[in-house]
Assembly symmetry: none
Homo-oligomer: 190 residues x 2
DNA sequence: ACAATATATAACAAAATATCACAAAAAGAG
DNA sequence: CTCTTTTTGTGATATTTTGTTATATATTGT
């Protein structure tokens, strides 16, 4: 089964996103091409900045700017900024990273087995329990995705921030329902 | 199951983050490679500043928590948080790092050969020219040293933030004189 | 302080992997 | 179909990584 070079490289990327790392040996077998061809594929993927070649295989490129984590947002594929990190821990022990509370709260709709949910306090940079936190939606401070959602450890902080930058302060559950309703209503499906 | 060399080092780091310390003996067993290879892995991890080699194993390097840079504040010796970085470039090409605008502005008093001065916008995380920036002094948001000094790229942002969290908005020069006067007056050496 | 033990480093050889150059094959263009 | 361009595979050669042995250095107990 012949495969176009671009398609093959996309395939490699797809595998890589699932498996974190992949060896040339494995790729030779799966794609039924020579090691040299794999080398060339990996070279161009690395050139484009998608991956990093390491001896024996490749890993997803994780050269983050300072201020960014090594993780990609599962929802929007953006590299996760340190200051808006949002982490969902599942009961299965899996960690799901989102770039900001906007994506994080949306992601929660897709996961029923959440164990703990953490978000980073926008003012103080500490991780806080998202369930106890307050979220300022639609303020004029857009640091990541829109609609802007910022996380605060206390309602007071959120309210004070709102005085200057507008928006509406919601607790965890209110923020979740607000966001999912909003996304749905825009798309118009029911 | 073969392990890519770089992945192996990542694995070591991951274990280290959970276990604080790890012995070479254990690593030899877990990774099924020779002690020499472990030594070499630890050497390069130490070179990169991620760990510290100790006799018989390694511990996590205390430098480089997520959210902190590798630098120490020249004034207060605190490790520099990423989100409040303040950098003074001298005409001699030297870089002086401060943990926050508070220390940075104070440091400026000691250096007459400043070339450029950069500070990080507290809202958006971008580095801005400190000379064009506005500083909110004495707000109730204390993320680093006190008196609290936060940097904003625009006067409007600073004012809006002030509405919620108090303090006084000053431009570059006003902030410098304000801070140095204040420190002097407290110490009483006229 | 000394020997006994453990750990670290250095040097070398073997194995694994990467790169290069060129020829064969495939794909497109006219 | 013929010519050109691109992609692929092969074998030779370079480079990197690894393990082993020997040697040096540090730690421990007496």
């Amino acid at each position: 089964m012949p495969q176009l070079p671009n398609v093959r490289q996309e395939q490699i990327l797809a595998w890589l996103r699932h498996e974190q790392q992949i060896t040339i040996e494995v790729l030779v077998e799966r794609l039924a091409v020579s090691a040299m061809t794999i080398h060339r594929d990996l070279d161009s993927l690395a050139q484009a900045g998608h991956i990093e070649k390491v001896r024996g295989g490749a890993v997803l490129s994780n050269r983050g700017m300072p201020g960014e984590t090594a993780h990609q947002c599962v929802l929007c594929a953006m590299r996760v900024p340190l200051r808006t990190t949002f982490i969902i821990n599942t009961t299965a022990g899996q960690q799901i990273h989102a770039c900001c509370p906007h994506c994080g709260l949306m992601l929660l709709e897709q996961h029923t087995d959440t164990d703990t949910v953490l978000a980073r306090d926008f003012l103080y940079g500490r991780m806080v329990n998202a369930g106890d936190a307050f979220f300022l939606v639609d303020s004029e401070v857009a640091v990541c995705c829109t609609p802007s959602v910022l996380c605060f450890g206390t309602e007071q902080d959120a309210q004070r921030f709102r005085q200057g930058f507008g928006g509406v302060v919601l607790d965890y559950h209110a923020a979740r329902t607000h966001l999912s309703q909003r996304h749905r209503s825009v798309l118009g499906n029911n």
